[in-house]
Every structure is written in C-alpha cells, then in structure tokens.
Symmetry: C2
Subunit: 298 residues, 2 copies
C-alpha cells in the first residue's frame, strides 16, 4: 500500500474482490466444541498457518450431532464464494458434517481414525495415535501389569485409533483384552468410569481416551482409596498443559494438535492450488510422557 493510499484510509473490499475474482482466501473451520483442548489447539494451529498465508478464518460450531443442525451448518458454509472448509471430525457431529459437504466446495479434514472412510473421501490429516496407544499399552505391560484396561468415549467416530492401538498391543502380548469401559466427553463421565474400575480389585492399569477422562479416573481412585500409582496406574492421552501439575502428575501421550492444525491448513493449501509447494507434515510424532501416575504393580 502506498503512503498516499494509507493516508486516505483506503482499504480494499474483500467482498468485491471475492466477487470479481471468483476466489476468496478464506477457510472456515467446523468444530464441535472450541472449549476442549484438542480442537482449540488445532484451531490455533490452523489460524496461525492461515494468517501467515493471508487467509481469513471463519468458525462454525457444531453444537449438536443432530442431522438437521449439521445440515444447517453445512448449508451456511457452502456459499460458492465463501471459500474452503476444514472440518475437525473427531466426533459424530464432525463426521456427519464431512459426509454432508456438497461436492464443489474444497474440504479437508482432521480426523481421529485413519482407517475411517472419511479419511478416504476427503484429503485428511491425523496423528499416529494407534502407534502411540500401542506404545503406552506396552509400557504398562512391561512394567509388569497383567493387562491394561481402557476407558473409551463411545459413539464418537465409531472407530478410534487409540482403542485399536491398545487392543493390538494387548493381543500381541498374548494378554486378555478386557471390555473397554464407557466414558464420555465430560469429566464426570470419566469419574464414573473410574468408580467402576476402582471397584474391581483386579484392575491395576488403565489407559484413558483423553486427559479429562484420566483426571476423572484419578479422582475416582482417590475417592475409593486406591493409591495411584502404587495400586493402580493411570495413563492419559493429549498432554494438556495442566497434566504435569495434577496430583499425581499424569503420565500421558503428548499430541501435537497445534502442529496438526498447521499441517491441515498446508494440506488445504495444496488442494486449492496445486502449484503451491506442499510442505511435509510438521506435526510432532505422538510421544509417551512418563510422569507420576504410572508405575509397576504392587
């Protein structure tokens, strides 16, 4: 912008440019809840990369997985001049939004389960959670635990790489595969799952679908008088910034959500404009962070 233009306070109209040129440097990201750590960190990463590339970012939250609500949201973002969309498809609402996207709009997804059909219908990005879950499970087994229990969040995507990795590690070790315990997205549901697990004296190690669930389980163990990690080990997933400060500090799998968000935008960039040199994914590999909540069985 020249000094003269700046002085006059001239600002180009994005709307006019979009209309005239037929394209907009805009992504809108569809997400179920901006309040949870994972999605909010992915959003942070997307925004960072988008801003660097001169893109605007819009946001649409999928309050409810109810088909009509999802369809309404999809309708809003399918405006022909509205630009591309990224959907964070870690749960039912996101998966349904992905399925409902009309052809003709550029869409890219961040998914949880790499084997889900969603990741084949659209360009997608994910972390290698299966390997990480298997590693966490193996770690517990090697500590001497006879098996490892798993607290899942059901009806999210149907399949989960985390659960598959856990199951696979158990199978490879030739160890009994207990039924997964049903948790949920709330802390309370993690607590309830923990209560059930605490009541079973045979349980000595539990892997949790995320750190919120793990925090609930931790509290349930304490309430039941089962010492962590002396009597039972608990391991989470995500490594939220608070995890290192819990009591006990949580052993968990660190997931680079911000990096995943950046990769997601880079992928979208490549879809929109094949001439833009595609960068290799930069998200860090998931890594088990051993802290205080895990140890050998008594």
């Amino acid at each position: 912008m020249s000094a003269a233009i700046r002085e006059l306070g001239f600002r180009p109209s994005r709307a006019a440019r979009a209309l005239a040129s037929g394209r907009t440097a805009t992504v809108t990201v569809l997400v179920a809840n901006t309040t949870l750590y994972g999605p909010s960190a992915i959003l942070q990463g997307i925004e960072e990369a988008a801003r660097a590339a001169g893109f605007s970012v819009g946001i649409g939250v999928l309050d409810s997985p109810e088909p009509d609500a999802v369809a309404a949201m999809v309708e809003r973002v399918s405006d022909p001049t509205a630009g591309a969309v990224i959907v964070i498809a870690f749960d039912l609402a996101g998966v349904r939004a992905l399925r409902a996207m009309p052809s003709g709009v550029a869409v890219v997804a961040a998914v949880e389960a790499s084997d889900a059909t969603e990741s084949h219908r659209y360009p997608a990005v994910w972390l290698d959670e299966r390997v990480a879950a298997a590693a966490a499970t193996r770690y517990l087994l090697e500590l001497g635990h006879e098996t490892v229990h798993y607290v899942a969040i059901p009806s999210s995507t149907g399949t989960s790489d985390r659960m598959r990795g856990w199951r696979q590690a158990l199978a490879e070790a030739g160890v009994a595969v207990p039924d997964p315990v049903a948790g949920g997205w709330t802390l309370r549901s993690g607590y309830e799952a923990g209560r059930a697990l605490a009541a079973d004296a045979a349980v000595t190690a539990v892997l949790c679908r995320n750190d919120d669930v793990a925090l609930g389980v931790l509290r349930a163990m304490r309430a039941a008088g089962r010492a962590v990690p002396d009597e039972v080990s608990v391991v989470g997933f995500d490594d939220v910034p608070q995890a290192a400060f819990y009591a006990p500090a949580l052993t968990t799998v660190r997931l680079d959500f911000v990096g995943l968000g950046r990769d997601c935008f880079a992928l979208l960039r490549g879809v929109l404009d094949p001439l833009v040199p595609g960068r290799a994914p930069a998200a860090a590999t998931p890594e088990l962070i051993v802290r205080e909540s895990s140890g050998p069985p008594r």
Copy 2:
C-alpha cells in the same frame, strides 16, 4: 428456499450480497489465545449467539502484543465490507488491538477491568469480578485467616478488577495488604509463585488470578510439604470444568464466560442495529464455589 431452488443446488453468494447491500452479517473476534478456557468459552458463546442471529463468525488470533503484529491484524479486519469486530481484551494484545481499531468499524469488547479506559471508548461487556474477588477474600478472612495473599498476572491490562476486589476487601477488614505475587499465563509461572509463597510460613491463604495459577500453586504447596487446606488455603478464579476434580478439588469463583460471550454479541447487535430489541445481560453473576482447597487456618 423453494424446493426447485434447492434441487438445483442454488446457494446465494454472500460476497455479492455484501457488495450490493453494503452490509454483511459477519463478526470477527480478535483473541489472544483460543487455547485458554476463558477466551475459548467466550468465543463459544459469541458463536452460538451469532449463529442464532444468522451471522458468520471469523476469528483472528493476536499471537503477540507487539504493536506491528497487532496493527497487521487490525488492518485485516478493518475491510469496509468485512462487518463488525469483537475484541476479547483480557490482555495486552487485546487492549492494544482495541486502541488501534480505526473509527468507522463497529466494535464491541469483552474486558476484564470495568474501570479501564477501553470500556469507555467502546461498548463493552464484563463480569462483576471485583465484587466476586472481594467476596472470595472475605470468605477466607471469615474463616479466620489473618490476611490473604494474591497471585496476579502482571502487565496484562494494567488494572484488574480481581486484584482491586481483593485489595478492597482486605482494606475494609482493616487487614495488612501483602504485595501481590507475580504469576503469569503459564502453569509453570503459577508453580513458581507458589514456591515463593510456600517458603513463607506466614502465608495461610492465597487467592489466585485464575485456576491455572491455582493449580500451579497447589502443586508447589504439595512439593513443599504444605498441606492444602490444612496449612494453607488456595482459591482460584474461573471454575474450569476440571477444577472440581483436582486433588484437592479447587475452591474457585465461577465465571460465566459463555454467557458473557452471548451478551457481547447481543451488545454488538444493538450497536449495529438500534432497532433490534436489546436484551438484558444474561450472564450469570460470578459465584464462589467452595470445595476442598480452602478451610480455616490451623
């Protein structure tokens, strides 16, 4: 939309409409970090209200409080056809963005300190944190503590209603006002502040600027062998969903950020169109939630 139109897959172009009519149903919200609970919950509330009103919401993150970076962001959102902006001015970056907004664009803010000049230059919305902080302080005093220490997050906005409420309650009780201890936005900084406090045997009660700081303080106390709440009480601010599950469960001030976000959008709505009936603020009044981390001094 008629069935015929739907069948043909017709979707109106938002860009064309914006150009022709001169207005866009769009808000973009400027925020420093989508990853923190407060801002992300406010965003959730804004998006919910905006969607209900048929508005699109954009997001711009203020990575850095550095003036050039802030100016660049402000420039992007000041597009004449881009619509209104909401800035979450809880920290330096937000406050600076607010100050840099050119006249002519509709802006509304969510602020922390009701007395700051920012809240007078623009329509703003805030929670009554001063009264809540005073109440939390009084609660600790009435438990029998001789005074209450405060862990602040410095250089955020300059003034903080939370700190003012604490100071006021102490003054009204005719009690010594200790120097605030400097914390920060990271958990680690809360931990460091807690270490300093733990080393001072005279400290029996500490009020923390937010729950993250409080979690850090909790851990520091544990590391120093000071029992909570038996030897020292710690109280937070925010009531993040995890607070009830910490060990010990955190006594904290519940802040209705989602409601604040809704109110913020309602205020903006009124600014954009004075004919729209303005609804009374609906955010819940801050409330002290007493849990396990506070009690009488020994």
